[in-house]
């Protein structure tokens, strides 16, 4: 599974980075940088939460 962020939707609120610090850091303009996108099983719950809590519905988890 992979995490993808739609940059055209993302407004940089940063909720995702707080939930998925192992994957996402915020850049100097406060937009998320996806450092790795292969999602491990142990982070699936956190990732699902990020999907739910992103105010712009910009995050998706996709099968690969």
């Amino acid at each position: 599974m992979k995490i993808v962020i739609d940059p055209t939707r993302c407004q940089g609120h940063g909720t995702c980075a707080a939930l998925l610090a192992e994957y996402i850091e915020m850049d100097k303009w406060h937009f998320p940088i996806l450092n790795r996108n292969q999602l491990s099983e142990s982070h699936l719950e956190a990732a699902k939460k990020a999907v739910q809590l992103c105010p712009e519905l910009a995050i998706k988890i996709i099968e690969d």
């Binding site: 739609d6 940059p7 055209t8 939707r9 407004q11 100097k28 303009w29 937009f31 940088i33």
Partner: protein, 455 residues
């Protein structure tokens, strides 16, 4: 779909394939290069003229026949991506088409230096429509669209479609959609959104358009010129298209030539002619540099005649990290500093961001500012270190290819004009005049680079 005017038709030869019949006098001294006019209005070829030039419109194609012809012909998309067209067709054909599929000819031509797509549609719309409806029939497409840049192209296509209906052609219905005059309007996903009646700005998608395009269904989208070549290949065959040449795409192509030339305009050239030969016909003078492919293309540093002996094909250009791209040759004379010109273009492109994605909105102005510091020699070291810091924050982080295209332009400038940048570092410039009037930017976009460098 039949027509009674069947005379024996000769397959076109040399450099006049798409432009056959536009105007008899448009030959040049080189049989491999034809002048095809400038951006001024030209007469549209009527359906009868079209048929007497190229012969009747063939029918009854199967997928495998079209696919085999395209593979043997080695036709690549003419919008700049160099992708073999038969592979694109296969991706759509093999995708899940149960809910229908779509075929789109992209004539948005958002590269300001390009005139080919609009001129092709204005003068020879039937050839584009032929290729489009043939492939739409093979795929059983649910919708067929031509996306056009201006009113003239729109009305030429509409008139052509009316002629076909009046002749009783039973073929796929084609709709004409207008593209707004913005740089991002020609991006694949912008075209899709516009057809879906949305704004012509890019949309983020994990899937390729071939799998998920218009209304989420498989979509064959290519440049209008690609479909015109298809109209010829399906008439005269793949072997004719290759004309004994091997290698990459061996057909003719349309090239928009602009800048420091006395005869700017559109040229149709045979594959592999030397760039210098094209420039000779366009009457270029004191060439300092060449922008190859368009704003998303790259630069050729011209030190002497030898630099122009490059064959105009993607094989040869690829060695120099250049590509035919959208078929643009922009000529800079020795009166213009190429680095300043490049920085002006980058500044224009930064303003053309669709304003949707953080890294693009914030990053492109920073790239433009840093680059302007180098071009205007205001603070070169600072410019270079800023570029090094900001590019990784922008690259591959946009919702479309726009920011990556801008970065490619910056990289190509730095790679091509190391000599010039060194001069700037020493407080000099190869161009004496400090009056930097851009040669390759649209008039309305003549920006203020000095302001950018001071931001």
């Amino acid at each position: 779909m039949t027509d009674s005017t069947s005379t024996s038709i000769m397959a076109p030869s040399g450099a006049r394939r798409l432009t056959l019949g536009w105007e008899a006098s448009w030959k040049t001294s080189n049989p491999e290069i034809a002048f095809a006019g400038d951006s001024q209005g030209r007469m549209r070829l009527s359906l009868s003229e079209h048929i007497s030039n190229y012969g009747r419109i063939p029918t009854g194609f199967t997928y495998s026949l079209v696919s085999d012809s395209l593979r043997v012909a080695n036709l690549t998309g003419r919008g700049g991506a160099k992708f073999p067209f038969y592979k694109k067709l296969a991706a759509v054909y093999e995708a899940d088409r149960k809910k229908g599929c779509y075929v789109v000819a992209n004539g948005a031509e958002s590269e300001p230096l390009s005139i080919k797509d609009s001129l092709l549609l204005k003068t020879n719309p039937h050839l584009v429509i032929d290729g489009l409806v043939m492939v739409a029939e093979v795929l059983g497409a649910k919708g067929v669209y031509i996306y056009v840049k201006d009113k003239e192209a729109h009305s030429a296509v509409n008139s052509a479609l009316r002629e076909r209906r009046e002749r009783g052609f039973t073929e796929a219905k084609v709709s004409v959609i207008d593209a707004p005059a913005t740089y991002v309007a020609g991006q694949e996903t912008s075209v899709i959104r516009r057809i879906e009646k949305g704004p012509a700005v890019p949309k983020f998608s994990i899937d390729r358009v071939a799998v998920s395009g218009v209304k989420g269904q498989p979509t064959l989208l290519s440049n209008v010129e690609t479909f015109a070549h298809l109209g010829l290949i399906l008439r005269f065959g793949a072997d004719w298209y290759r004309s004994g040449r091997s290698g990459f795409d061996s057909g003719s192509r349309l090239v928009s030539v602009s800048g420091a030339v006395d005869r700017p305009g559109l040229y149709e050239v045979s594959s592999g002619v030397a760039i210098g030969d094209i420039l000779r016909e366009a009457k270029a003078h004191s060439v300092r540099a060449l922008l190859v492919g368009g704003y998303f293309g790259g630069w050729l540093n011209v030190r002497d005649e030898n630099d122009l002996r490059v064959a105009y094909d993607d094989f040869t250009l690829g060695d120099k990290k250049l590509s035919i791209g959208a078929g643009i040759l922009g000529v800079l004379s020795k009166e213009t500093c190429p680095v300043v010109e490049a920085a002006s273009i980058v500044d224009y492109l930064a303003e053309q961001s669709a304003g949707q994605c953080g890294p693009c909105i914030n990053g492109l102005p920073e790239i433009s500012t840093a680059f302007a510091r180098i071009a205007l020699s205001s603070n070169i070291d600072r410019g270079i270190s800023e570029l090094k810091a900001v590019i990784p924050l922008v690259e591959r982080r946009g919702g479309c290819q726009h920011p990556d295209g801008v970065i490619a332009h910056v990289r190509s400038t730095v790679a091509a004009f190391g000599d010039e940048i060194k001069l700037h570092k020493a407080g000099k410039c190869s161009v004496a005049s400090s009056n930097h009037h851009s040669m390759l930017l649209p008039k309305k976009a003549q920006g203020n680079l000095a302001a950018a460098s001071g931001r």
